[in-house]
């Protein structure tokens, strides 16, 4: 007989499966304290379910560019440093230091690191890797900050930068996978190099198999791992619908899986649920190049008219965190709590709009009066795609009561992106990830970039600070600057962060999975840090 809870679960599954056919999201995540309980004995098989399955051949040039592809590669290849749930930790390098005068990082490699084929890993391999990536660009290895790399003896590597570059440790040293020179120096086209030797790394797992059409990976523990005993003998990635995560877990077919938010509550008694919010966001973009949205006060008035918490409740079914107009989510270590929050405030809307010369005029056939200037009623279109149409509807309803009339324009994602790029909109809804990593992202999401960026350079002070923070090597000083940026950004509000969707993983507790501090490498919010699998 099925218990009440099971029956409820089956109903949830039914709803989720049907809705899952219509939309599929991607998972995100980033801060949860690690569980220090690690298993005493080696687990023979550990299986992780994934909705997409295939993330490419797990060599640096073979994996697909998005986070899950990098994760599969990262289990095989190690970097100079790495991150756990607290921050940077040694990986290939046992220690590192920065000489500000010469703009040079010195990394000292650990003793006796072996490649999976038994050869010794030396400083030469590191020098080779950087040279190779300069020649054969790798999406996760932006080496534009690096001027020169050299070795001193077998264990010391010196990396000289073009100029002070604060994101270096996160975005280069903890991201660039080190590859064996003795294998790759003969490879001309790394993208097409898919032989077994292409997946010889120095990480905790050895490659055994990858099946593209089944979307499966099989890895084996690297018994000679320099970082400690590997706790899982065989690691498998299999493809499974996220709606089936609960059933697969309870059947013991998988040990860990990403979850639909609705399932988290049902499963929390039996499994460990880890939750993350803040690495991705849903935001409202303003066309700040054209009237009336070119006026900062107009944008602020709109921001005060929006109830972000209501939005989370209605459009996100409560599975999210209210947006911080200063970009970063509360809980992120760069978060500035004192940026203006634009909590709903009708009086502020009145003041700002009246100051701009608008007045509320009632019109026939409308329930609410509208803001009008020179006989012209304020009418704005709001661009969105089918995924965000519910958000648009909630906004439309809410803003109508505040005197702003919105017309929803729902288009295919690509059309939306093109329209945003060419500034063919008044308001636009957009969602993207990538908020978890180093504040280098501020430039990408505020100043320059694609349809995900505010492309806002009207405030010279803001521009200057965003450029400058990258070069501040002192963390406290940089943090202060980043918080200043958030305040200015929130004040100018060229884009309004509406909310951060939650994402969930469930696992059976055999391996204490956690979200990495600031995300894995450049900020991947997936709780599959290789260090969880190592004693």
């Amino acid at each position: 007989m099925l218990g009440m809870k099971d029956r409820k679960m089956v109903w949830w599954l039914l709803v989720l499966l049907i809705s899952g056919l219509l939309f599929t999201g991607c998972s995100n995540g980033a801060d949860q304290p690690a569980d220090s309980r690690k298993p005493e004995e080696v687990i023979p098989v550990y299986t992780i379910a994934d909705a997409a399955g295939d993330w490419g051949f797990p060599s640096p040039w073979g994996h697909y560019q998005r986070g899950p592809g990098y994760i599969r590669m990262s289990l095989i290849f190690d970097t100079l440093v790495w991150k756990d749930d607290q921050g940077l930790v040694p990986a290939l390098a046992s220690e590192w230091s920065y000489d500000q005068d010469n703009k040079t990082y010195t990394f000292v490699l650990k003793d006796n690191i072996l490649w999976h084929d038994g050869q010794k890993l030396t400083a030469e391999d590191v020098v080779f890797t950087f040279a190779y990536i300069k020649q054969h660009p790798y999406a996760w290895g932006d080496l534009s900050s690096v001027a020169q790399v050299s070795s001193e003896g077998e264990q010391t590597v010196k990396i000289t930068l073009n100029s002070n570059f604060a994101p270096f440790l996160n975005n280069v040293a903890a991201t660039v996978p080190i590859i064996p020179q003795h294998i790759w120096d003969k490879v001309e086209e790394p993208g097409k190099f898919t032989e077994l030797s292409a997946v010889v790394g120095s990480g905790p797992f050895r490659y055994v198999d990858y099946n593209k059409e089944q979307g499966t990976y099989l890895y084996q523990a690297n018994d000679q791992y320099y970082g400690g005993k590997v706790l899982v003998q065989e690691l498998k990635f299999i493809k499974a619908n996220p709606q089936m995560a609960a059933a697969s877990l309870s059947r013991g077919e998988v040990n860990a899986a990403a979850l639909q938010p609705e399932m988290a509550g049902q499963l929390q008694d039996k499994y460990t649920i880890i939750q993350e919010a803040g690495s991705s966001n849903v935001k409202l973009m303003f066309n700040h190049l054209e009237e009336p949205l070119a006026d900062k006060e107009f944008r602020q008035a709109l921001a005060y008219a929006i109830d972000k918490e209501d939005l989370v409740a209605k459009a996100q079914r409560g599975y999210g965190v209210k947006g911080n107009p200063g970009i970063y989510a509360p809980g992120n270590r760069w978060y500035a709590g004192d940026a203006v929050q634009y909590d709903p405030n009708g009086q502020k809307v009145q003041e700002l709009m009246t100051e701009l010369g608008y007045e509320l005029v009632a019109s026939e056939g409308r329930a609410n009066p509208s803001w009008t200037k020179d006989g012209q009623e304020v009418k704005l279109n709001i661009l969105c795609d089918s995924d965000l149409i519910r958000v648009a509807e909630v906004l439309q309803e809410r803003l109508a009561t505040a005197g702003f009339s919105l017309e929803i324009q729902s288009v295919e994602v690509k059309v939306r992106d093109t329209k945003i790029l060419s500034w063919d909109f008044d308001l636009a809804l957009n969602s993207h990830g990538g908020l978890g990593g180093d504040p280098e992202i501020l430039s990408k999401f505020i100043l320059v970039g694609d349809f995900n960026s505010a492309r806002y350079d009207q405030n010279p002070h803001l521009v200057e600070l965003i450029q400058k923070q990258k070069t501040i090597m002192d963390e406290d000083e940089r943090k202060e600057m980043v918080q200043q940026i958030q305040k200015l950004y929130a004040e100018d509000v060229p884009v309004l962060t509406l909310y951060y969707p939650n994402s969930y993983w469930a696992h059976d507790g055999k391996i204490p999975l956690y979200y990495t501090s600031e995300g894995i490498a450049i900020g991947v919010p997936i709780p599959l840090n290789k260090l969880s699998f190592v004693q």
């Binding site: 089956v10 499966l17 599929t24 295939d54 490419g56 073979g62 089944q214 493809k239 694609d450 349809f451």
Partner: protein, 320 residues
């Protein structure tokens, strides 16, 4: 038959034209239309230039069409940027799974449908007929993906009789008969969902032609000769009722392939449906176009095959 082949050829040429012109007629940069904004942004300027000259996007349309056709003849469907592989290699790996799924479902639904149709027609108006009609129509009223979800929840999640998805148990190490058994076990639920969705058409078609046959003189003669009931039912009336079903087989195949798109997603089955789902989500336009072309070609081929089969079964067609 010749006329039909010309029709199919025309249909195929139309599909190729559509595939070629659609992205190129979209407003804006055709490279963006073909590769999508996201991909185009990750491409470097050099790569963009290389792609443009490779696809001849800077040349006049007729030249572009020539290049496109030459590439097609060489089996070159372009490159899927999201899967970092040639479209043909990706499609080639997934197509067999879809053919297995759709083929099994078509054979089963045709076989079962004919038997149920014959039984239902023979017992017209009595309880057995009414039950068959009620069940068949009731079941087909559900869209195939709802059926798939229900089957999965009941037989997969609750009863645990069948796997929750996929085409085989990953890294089971099985070979030979064990592997075949494993693949078959994974096939049961998706095939059942597809079969049930296809069933009503065949049943109703067989039933109505059965009713027509039962009134014919040759049946009365057969009854008069004192032939056994099952011989009249299956050998005489039933055999003739096969014709409309075979004639519809091509259309059914098209429907089954379309149905498989949804069913595969529900069961995470690694076929063309799951691939389409992936291509849509990652907006991989070259992949979508490749899938579109291969699916269309498969459906056209299925139609040709069905026609050949009808031709063999029905001597009257040969006389024409």
């Amino acid at each position: 038959m010749k006329n039909k082949l010309i029709t199919y050829l025309a249909a195929f040429i139309f599909l190729i034209l559509l595939n070629f012109f659609l992205p190129r007629l979209m407003p804006g940069d055709p490279l963006l239309a073909i590769y999508g904004q996201e991909a185009a942004l990750t491409l470097s300027e050099e790569m963009k230039k290389e792609l443009i000259s490779e696809m001849g996007l800077d040349r006049p349309l007729p030249v572009q069409f020539g290049l496109y056709l030459t590439a097609l003849l060489h089996g070159d469907l372009g490159v899927s940027y999201s899967l970092n592989a040639s479209v043909w290699s990706v499609v080639g790996r997934t197509l067999p799974w879809t053919l297995l799924l759709v083929g099994s479902a078509l054979i089963l639904s045709t076989f079962l449908g004919i038997i149920l149709g014959i039984e239902s027609g023979w017992h017209k108006g009595v309880k057995r007929d009414r039950w068959i009609l009620f069940l068949v129509i009731g079941v087909s009223g559900l869209p195939n993906f709802i059926m798939a979800v229900i089957l999965l929840l009941v037989f997969g999640v609750q009863l645990g009789w069948f796997p929750l998805g996929g085409a085989l148990t990953p890294y089971s190490g099985w070979t030979g008969i064990q592997l075949v058994g494993d693949v078959a076990r994974h096939l049961v639920l998706p095939v059942t969902a597809l079969t049930l969705a296809q069933l009503s058409e065949t049943v109703l078609l067989t039933r109505s032609s059965m009713l027509g046959s039962l009134d014919s003189l040759y049946i009365r003669t057969a009854v008069g000769k004192g032939l056994k009931k099952y011989r009249i039912k299956y050998g005489h009336a039933g055999r003739n009722s096969l014709l409309p079903v075979t004639a519809r087989l091509g259309v059914s195949a098209g429907r089954a392939i379309a149905g498989a798109l949804f069913v595969e997603v529900v069961f995470a089955y690694p076929g063309m449906g799951s691939l389409t789902h992936h291509a849509l989500l990652s907006r991989d336009y070259p992949l979508l176009q490749g899938i579109f072309l291969v699916m269309a070609l498969t459906i056209v081929l299925a139609n040709i095959l069905a026609d050949r089969l009808a031709f063999r079964l029905d001597p009257r067609l040969r006389e024409d």
